[in-house]
Each structure stands twice: as structure tokens, then as C-alpha cells.
């Protein structure tokens, strides 16, 4: 048993809400050997992060470990004193958080934060750990390793910060690192680079790790074994290959199956038909800097156009031009062949009504003080002029349309809904204006895969019933594959390639499209290894993007 580094037994965790303690984790065991990587997956609310933090003997405010033991190298962290835990944290157990941008202190330089651990734990002097930091930056393939540490967090990109955080976790050469969704917030091409770096360095130093994620394909690349969690319970655990090829539990199988949703292809577009929305040679600027350059594409009736690209590629800016929030500097938008006024301020109510939006963060897009009935009722009244009983009837119809029980949800507040339900309310609010065209801005990227699939199916159903056209902004190519009819690929404010989905997913592609497609992790555990062999470390990720 001596080779067991981490032994968690019967771990139960409770969280406090409304003055009572409710179970979050209902008894979980973890065994981790030195140098072993455990992937922990599950949907949001499964308790992955809570278990990850508990493995460090840490709980957030309002959360407590009620039962069980967390033995790290023979020390029970549940019973250990704060001082004993502090001596281990950072030195022998380290943490890599989901958002490096939020987890680096904005007030200090990267290298100051890097050396803090080793110096405070008495592992090495400031000078030594600074040199070691630069060496780690080099190993993690950060650009300008000698110089990058002397910058502040806001001066470094997200992908680079994530690697700098991995370097910081490595600073004391810990025996165990907890990776809490370290690549979730990154673009695919950046993610692949960070994944390769993390995997390398964990292997080099023979560090054990718990890798927490909701992305199965990512965990397949990183982990030796996988544990699936559901609502605080363990579903199953097996080594990675077994888990991928022969999961035993239904829940695991359903997770595996999500990626199979795909809409049947529609017939080709009638070339003579007038598109519902037509973006014509649009160039737009924030201040004096052009962020869109001569962008043109059409969206036809009853079709879904996916606009794909990384953050900063101009996808959302294009949407802002269509809605008139950002009037284009050059070019214009046509709706049913009619030119629209550039700014929303000059558009009349019927023009505004025709184009609606659904947002990425359903949480922040709904007014927390307004009940569902009020939220959906407002556009019903504003655009359709319905009042009183008629308005209520229409809201109930809309709720039924989005598959929520009208009487049950009418009076609820957004805080009483789950993430997926909130997004459905967002859809209902867009539908209330009875538009022909809806812009969906990353509507599924904040949702779990199963929930996201439900939203995609709902959008597909509504399109079939109401003949809606969608502009579907996303960075997730799996979503594109499942829902799009046409695809527009954007990079640096330009359209680099566009066409029917079938052709986009078939070679030959534009080099950038090819890079995007090849950067999407696949369920094959050898995918990353093969890709690295095929392309070489220097031809993946941001490095490859920069070469274009």
C-alpha cells in the first residue's frame, strides 16, 4: 500500500443553503499512485471541483467535509491542523484553476507569484526559484521565457497564463497537482497547446494528477484512468481505454453518445431565392480600429448558418452589425432584399422585431428580479401589442413551445431555474417577437453536453415548425457538425472560407479551417500523441495560427 499517494475513503461533503446542511458528495473513494493521472468527469453540479479541492483538504466557504478521510502520504487532511495543511499545500500538493486570468493576482508580476510558494515554504531562495521559473516557462514552451514572467497577468494571453499557472504549480515540484478544468475557457487551437504542455511536464516530473473536466475527449488524452461522477455519486471508474470502449453504466454511455446528434442534411439552397439576411461587404470598427474587414455572407430562409472562429475573430461583432448595435463603417445589411438602416436607432419596430438574439450567458441575460412571465411577456406586449389575458395566453403558448410546463414556470424567478431552463427562457423571449431570424451567440457553450444537446434539438424543432433562420455563432465544431447547414469560418475579422457544411468537413480545406478541425480533441486516447507526431510541437496551436 505504500505506493498509494492519495487515499480518499468514504468522502462525504455538505453545502449550506438556507441554514441547513445538504449533501453534495455522498461517499467517494479515490486511490492515486505516484505519477498516476486520474481523470474526473461529470456535468456541472456533479461535485468534481468539490472533490478536487477536498483532495487538498480544502473546502470553500459554506461547504464542509462531514465524513470520511483524505489521506495524503499518510496524513489525514480532514483531521490535520491548518498549519499542517499549509505546510503541504503548494509544496507537495498544488492546484491549477480553471481561469488563470482570474486566479493570478492582478497586482503582482507572474514571477513574483511563481517564486512566492518556494520561498515561503523554504524550498529555495528567491533567485534560485526565479531561474527555475524561467526554466519551467521554457519547458512549457512559453514565448520569451526569460522575459514573460516579469509581466503582469493582464499583459499575457489566456493560453499563456494557463501554462504559467501550471509552471507555478510545478514550482515546488509537488507530488500531486489538481487540474480543475484548466482548458475549458480556451480556444481549441490554444487548448491543444496547453494540453500538450501539461501532459509533457507531468510525465517529465512523474507528478500524480487529478484532471477535472467535463470534456471527454480532453480527459481521454490526459488520464490513465477515469472516474465518472453524477450528482455527488461515483458512477464508475476504469482505466481510460476500457472506459472509452466499454463503459458499463447507462449514464456513461449516454455521455458518450451525446456527440452523435446530427441533423439530416437539407436540400441545396435555391440560388434564385432572396436571402433572409444578407451581410454585404461590411467593414466595422471599434473606435478607429477596424475589427471586421469586408465581410459578406447570406442566410437563407429556414437554414442555419454557423459562424465559426476563435475569440477575437469577429463573430460577435458581425452579429452586432446585423442587429444595428454597431453600425458598419462601410457596407450594409439587407433583410429580405431591403436595405436596413445601419443603426438600430433608425430601424422601426417591425424591422427590429425580425431579428432577435439569444445570448451565451443565460444567467446574466435574464433580469433576476423579473418573473419568467414578465420576461417573456414584455416582448409579447412591446412587439405584438397583446395585453392582459391575451398576453398571458401567448406567454403560456411560448412556454409550451420551449417544453416547459406553463403553469409551473410562469411565476418563477430566473434563480429558481437550471442553466438549461434559463437558456430555454432566452429562446422563448426571442420567439415572443415572432421573428424570421434569430442570432444564437454561443448559446450552448456554457452548458453541459447533455443539456446543450437538448437545446440544440429544441432549436432544430423550432426551425422545422416555424421556418426560422439562425445565425449560430460558436467556436465548437461538434456543435457545427450537429446543427449547421452552411458554415462561415472567420479569422481576424475576415471570412476565410464559407460553404455548405458537407463541403467544409471534407478536405481540402483552407489551412485555417484545417487547423481548427484538427485541433478538436477526439475520443481516441492516442489522438494527441499522433497529432503531435504528425505535425510536430511547433505546428499546433497559437504557434501555427501565427504562421498563417
Amino acid at each position: 500500500m505504500s505506493d498509494l499517494l492519495l487515499k480518499i475513503r468514504g468522502l462525504k461533503i455538505e453545502g449550506r443553503s438556507d441554514e441547513t446542511w445538504n449533501p453534495i458528495i455522498n461517499g467517494i473513494d479515490v486511490d492515486l499512485k505516484k505519477g498516476e493521472v486520474l481523470g474526473m468527469i461529470g456535468e456541472s453540479g456533479a461535485g468534481k471541483s468539490t472533490v478536487g479541492l477536498a483532495a487538498m483538504g480544502y473546502t470553500r466557504d459554506g461547504v464542509r467535509i462531514s465524513e470520511g478521510s483524505v489521506e495524503f502520504d499518510g496524513v489525514d487532511l480532514v483531521k490535520a491542523s491548518a498549519a499542517v495543511k499549509r505546510a503541504l499545500l503548494g509544496k507537495r500538493i498544488a492546484y491549477v484553476a480553471q481561469s488563470a486570468a482570474a486566479s493570478f493576482n492582478p497586482a503582482h508580476k507572474l514571477i513574483d507569484q511563481h517564486t512566492e510558494g518556494p520561498v515561503q515554504h523554504g524550498v529555495s531562495s528567491r533567485g534560485e526559484s526565479e531561474l527555475d521559473g524561467i526554466e519551467l516557462y521554457r519547458r512549457l514552451r512559453l514565448p520569451n521565457p526569460e522575459e514573460i514572467g516579469f509581466r503582469y497577468p493582464h499583459q499575457v494571453s489566456g493560453g499563456q497564463l494557463q501554462r504559467a499557472m501550471t509552471a507555478m504549480a510545478m514550482a515546488c515540484r509537488p507530488d500531486l497537482i489538481i487540474f480543475d478544468e484548466p482548458t475549458t475557457a480556451l480556444d481549441v487551437t490554444t487548448q491543444i497547446e496547453v494540453l500538450a504542455s501539461i501532459r509533457d511536464i507531468v510525465e517529465q516530473f512523474d507528478t500524480a494528477a487529478i484532471y477535472i473536466t467535463h470534456d471527454l475527449a480532453v480527459v481521454a488524452q490526459m488520464a490513465d484512468k477515469i472516474k465518472v461522477l453524477l450528482k455527488g455519486d461515483e458512477v464508475e471508474e476504469a482505466d481510460t481505454r476500457t472506459m472509452l470502449t466499454a463503459p458499463t453504466e447507462d449514464y456513461t454511455k449516454s455521455l458518450w453518445a451525446v456527440r452523435s446528434f446530427e441533423r439530416p442534411a437539407k436540400p441545396a439552397i435555391n440560388v434564385n431565392a432572396t436571402p433572409v439576411v444578407s451581410v454585404r461587404n461590411v467593414t466595422a470598427a471599434y473606435g478607429t480600429v477596424d475589427v471586421l474587414h469586408d465581410v459578406s455572407f447570406d442566410i437563407h430562409a429556414g437554414r442555419t448558418v454557423a459562424v465559426v472562429g476563435e475569440s477575437g475573430s469577429g463573430k460577435s461583432t458581425a452579429a452586432r452589425c446585423i442587429t444595428g448595435l454597431l453600425p458598419p463603417r462601410i457596407g450594409h445589411i439587407e433583410f429580405d432584399g431591403q436595405q436596413l438602416p445601419l443603426s438600430y436607432k433608425q430601424r422601426d419596430k417591425s424591422q427590429l422585431r425580425q431579428a432577435q438574439m439569444i445570448y451565451q450567458m443565460a444567467d446574466t441575460a435574464l433580469n433576476p428580479r423579473k418573473s419568467i412571465g414578465e420576461t417573456i411577456g414584455r416582448p409579447v406586449e412591446f412587439y405584438m401589442g397583446l395585453k392582459g389575458r391575451e398576453k398571458r395566453k401567448r406567454v403560456e403558448e411560448l412556454l409550451a413551445e420551449i417544453e416547459l410546463e406553463p403553469t409551473e414556470y410562469f411565476n418563477r424567478l430566473p434563480s429558481e431555474l437550471s442553466g438549461g431552463q434559463k437558456q430555454r427562457i432566452g429562446i422563448a423571449r426571442a420567439l415572443a417577437a415572432e421573428p424570421q431570424f434569430i442570432i444564437c451567440d454561443e448559446v450552448t457553450s456554457a452548458l453541459d453536453q447533455l443539456v446543450a444537446e437538448g437545446i440544440l434539438r429544441l432549436l432544430a424543432k423550432l426551425q422545422d415548425e416555424l421556418g426560422l433562420s439562425y445565425m449560430f455563432i460558436t467556436h465548437d465544431l461538434a456543435t457545427v457538425r450537429s446543427i449547421a447547414d452552411e458554415v462561415v469560418v472567420m479569422k481576424d475579422g475576415e471570412v476565410v472560407e464559407q460553404g455548405p457544411k458537407k463541403e467544409m468537413f471534407k478536405p481540402p480545406h483552407h489551412a485555417y479551417t484545417d487547423l481548427l478541425l484538427s485541433s478538436v480533441p477526439e475520443m481516441d486516447p492516442d489522438w494527441l500523441t499522433n497529432l503531435l507526431q504528425e505535425r510536430g510541437v511547433d505546428n499546433i496551436g497559437d504557434a501555427a495560427v501565427d504562421k498563417m
Partner: protein, 332 residues
């Protein structure tokens, strides 16, 4: 850094514009005071002719806009006029004292220096005290220590200043004669003597301003404790004190600086009661005396100085808050 200079310049111009606006308000408010200098100096038995004569001599019969612009023009050139009380002696005794005219400046400057000294001593005690207590109460939040500190500083701020002053006099001057209860300082005093005499008013002011600064420090720090980088600092195994001082405090500076500046401004402009209680010869006393006899040039000058102190301290706070943000200090 060019951006920062631009911001400072912009704020400075805004400050000057504010001062202009304030000068109008001061002028209107002071002129709205019932009675005037001529009446108050001549008393009940004044003949209308005498009153009229003095009014004419002091220019009180000119139209308000004319008087305002004269005053403003003088003030811009650094001439705040001559106190009416001084002007009077000359004209009535008929014996000009030669070039030895006492201006408003001459009257105000020594008083202002005294007030600044008192404010400086109070700030030197209260700011470090408040920030330290803020850090400690954040560190030991929700403990008995935290609650005791909050209760005691809140009781101090809730009591009227003269009451605090008399309590301090009772305990530190009467029962245990540590400090003198009268703060009659004068030019040419030894620094230590001066400090000793300033101690009681300074302590009274400390009690009055500490609570707000302490509570803001505490709240600003606690506000940050849920942020991911604080969690990260804890997960690096750092001591709770280090987490707060090194990781939370630098990011909590902006609101703390703002509150400190407001309280420093209060130390200069809100000291009237304390100065009166301790007979401390500061600008607050001069202000009250001048209002009593309707010595308009002095009242206006005091108001203008108070306004300038407020604006200047807030400007400094703004600039420091900006500097405390690394995003602005080190642009991409």
C-alpha cells in the same frame, strides 16, 4: 504613463472648474446671511447714516455681481482682500498704520498652519491605526475581537465630538493629568511642547474618523476574499496574514484611498467643534468668529480654502487609485 499625466491634468482642470462653481455658491450663501458687518459692528444704536457710510466704504452697496467679480479677480491673483475688521480701524481712527496692512491672508495663514498641524497629527495616528485594525478585523472576521472593534469604533463615531472631547479631558487631563486640556499653542513653541498640547484634540479627531476608514478597509478586503486569486493564494499554503496583506490589500487599495482622503479632508474642514472645545487657534475658530461679526472676506476665504482642500484631496485620491491599478500603470 502619458495617459496617466493626461488623466491628472484633466482632473486638475475639472477641480479648478469645480472650485469656480463652489466660489459662486460660497458668495451667494455668505451674502444670504442676515445682517451685515456695518450693522453688527455698530450695534443697536447705529444711525442709518453711520451704517450707510461704512457700507459705502466697504463696497457693500455695489451690486452683488460686481462684488463677486471683484472678489474673484482678486482671489485669482492671490489677493483675498482685507478683513473688514482691519479696514475699519484705519478709516475711523484716521491714523493709517503705513504699509502695515493686515490682509485676509495674513490672518488666515498662521491659523491654517495650526489646523494643518492638528490634521497632520490626527492623520498620523488615525490612518495607520484604522488600516491596521481593518486588516486585523478582516483576518479575525466574525470573532469576538472583530465585533469588539466594530462596536467600539462605531460608538466613537456615533457620539458627538464635543462629548468625546469632554470624556478625553476627563480621563486624560483631569483624572490622570497626562495631557493639557487647553491647546493654546503659539508661534515659536518647541515641537514637543506643541505636540503635547495638540494631543487631546488629535485623539478626539482620531476617534471621530477611525471607524469609517477601518470599516472600509475591512469591507474592501473581505469583498475580495471570495475571488479566485485569493483561493489560489490559500491553496499555495500561504499564511492567512500573508494572504490578506500581500494578496487582498493591494487590490483593495482604491476604495480605502478614497475613504482616507475624505476623512483627511474632514480633519481640515470639520474641526470647528474640536477647536472650540480645546481653544485651539485653528482656522475653524477664525471661521466661527468671522461669521459672528459678518467679516465677509474672511468667511469667503475660509470657505474657499475648505473647498480647495476637499477638491485637492479627492483629486489626489483619484490619482492614487488609478496608480494602484496595475492595468493602468503597465498597459499592454
Amino acid at each position: 504613463m502619458a495617459g496617466l499625466l493626461g488623466i491628472i491634468l484633466q482632473r486638475l482642470l475639472l477641480g479648478i472648474a469645480t472650485l469656480f462653481a463652489v466660489s459662486i455658491i460660497i458668495f451667494v450663501a455668505v451674502n444670504a446671511l442676515p445682517g451685515d458687518f456695518a450693522q453688527s459692528i455698530l450695534g443697536q444704536g447705529a444711525t442709518p447714516e453711520a451704517v450707510e457710510a461704512i457700507r459705502n466704504q466697504l463696497g457693500l452697496n455695489e451690486s452683488p455681481p460686481t462684488r463677486y467679480f471683484k472678489w474673484l479677480l482678486g482671489a485669482v491673483q492671490g489677493d483675498l482682500g482685507i478683513p473688514m475688521s482691519q479696514a475699519l480701524f484705519q478709516s475711523f481712527t484716521g491714523s493709517s498704520t503705513g504699509g502695515d496692512v493686515v490682509t485676509v491672508f495674513d490672518q488666515i495663514i498662521p491659523r491654517l498652519k495650526n489646523t494643518m498641524f492638528l490634521a497632520g497629527v490626527s492623520a498620523a495616528i488615525s490612518v495607520p491605526l484604522a488600516v491596521t485594525l481593518g486588516i486585523l478585523t478582516a483576518l479575525y472576521r466574525n470573532t469576538a475581537f472583530d465585533k469588539a472593534m466594530n462596536v467600539s469604533t462605531l460608538s466613537a463615531i456615533s457620539s458627538p465630538e464635543f462629548f468625546l472631547a469632554y470624556i478625553l479631558i476627563l480621563f486624560l487631563a483631569v483624572l490622570n493629568p497626562v495631557f493639557p486640556s487647553l491647546s493654546n499653542i503659539f508661534p515659536g513653541m518647541e515641537f514637543s511642547d506643541r505636540l503635547n498640547k495638540t494631543m487631546l484634540p488629535a485623539l478626539t479627531l482620531t476617534l471621530a474618523v477611525t471607524a469609517q476608514m477601518m470599516r472600509m478597509t475591512r469591507a474592501a478586503i473581505i469583498n475580495l476574499l471570495a475571488s479566485p486569486y485569493i483561493e489560489m493564494a490559500r491553496l499555495k499554503g500561504l499564511s492567512p496574514m500573508r494572504v490578506i496583506v500581500k494578496h487582498a490589500l493591494p487590490n483593495a487599495l482604491a476604495p480605502i484611498i478614497t475613504v482616507v482622503a475624505l476623512n483627511l479632508a474632514y480633519l481640515v474642514t470639520g474641526v470647528v467643534v474640536v477647536e472650540v472645545v480645546f481653544v485651539y487657534p485653528g482656522i475653524g475658530q477664525l471661521f466661527v468668529d468671522s461669521v459672528k461679526i459678518r467679516d465677509i472676506p474672511v468667511v469667503q476665504a475660509c470657505c474657499l480654502i475648505f473647498a480647495a482642500v476637499y477638491i485637492l484631496l479627492n483629486l489626489t485620491a483619484d490619482v492614487l487609485s488609478i496608480i494602484s491599478n496595475p492595468r493602468l500603470r503597465h498597459p499592454k
